[in-house]
């Protein structure tokens, strides 16, 4: 019974990782690609680690697998946030259907003040 549960978890996890890879190849924009890879990739890896925990029903293995899942769940959003911010600073081109850019005003403002406070005071 445990083997069947583990097998189903394995196949589902592998499928989600494959979906993440297809998303990273097919989606038009880096932010969308990041959304595919982070969410589907985290789910896929977590399901496969859960299958390991189900199959070896020992306390040491279960705690190790759950610790890895918790670590991935904590670090993947942070890493995605960091790359997304870096990509925005890098000056990416958005997909043509993107209509909302909330960061635009904020970063334009800080960039101007950071580039030269003297320039801003001269204009004042």
């Amino acid at each position: 019974m445990l083997e069947i549960i583990a097998g189903i978890l394995l196949i589902t996890g592998g499928f989600f990782v494959l979906v993440a890879a297809v998303g990273i190849l097919r989606l038009p924009d880096i932010l969308m690609r990041m959304h595919a890879s982070t969410k589907a990739g985290t789910l896929g890896a977590g399901l496969i680690l859960l299958a390991v925990a189900f199959l070896y029903a020992e306390i040491g293995i279960i705690s190790r697998a759950l610790a890895t899942i918790a670590f991935i769940l904590m670090t993947a959003p942070v890493a995605a946030h960091a790359i997304g911010r870096a990509a925005y600073h890098h000056g990416i081109t958005f997909w043509k259907g993107t209509i909302v850019d909330d960061l635009k005003d904020y970063y334009e403002k800080t960039r101007q003040t950071r580039r030269g406070s003297e320039k801003v005071s001269e204009e004042d």
């Binding site: 990273i24 890879s37 890896a45 293995i61 890895t68 790359i83």
Partner: protein, 97 residues
């Protein structure tokens, strides 16, 4: 052949395909953050592969490798993000952007 070994084979096929597809994205780019995102996904795929190998080989010790790889991949991604931000700021100061 029982259900578990069949599913292990299927998962290996899925993960190998994902590795190849993300490698295509690493190669075609087009910018550095795209490549960093693809490398992050490759780290996830390799973590999943190691977990699958921990099942198929019968040695659950390989889970430790998965933990360490998750840590290193996270640090690498954060370092790449800082590098991209620093490089973008430097390019803008030089007037290239």
């Amino acid at each position: 052949m029982d259900f578990l070994s069949l599913s292990i084979i299927i998962v290996y096929i899925f993960l190998s395909l994902s590795l190849l597809i993300s490698l295509i994205r690493v190669i075609i780019g087009p910018t550095l953050p795209d490549r960093v995102v693809a490398l992050d996904l490759i780290a996830f795929v390799v973590i999943s592969m190691i977990a699958t190998y921990a099942i198929s080989s019968g040695h659950p010790v390989y889970l430790d490798v998965a933990i360490v790889l998750a840590l290193v991949a996270f640090l690498g991604t954060i370092a790449f993000a800082r590098y991209v931000i620093l490089r973008a700021g430097k390019l803008r100061e030089d007037g290239h952007a």
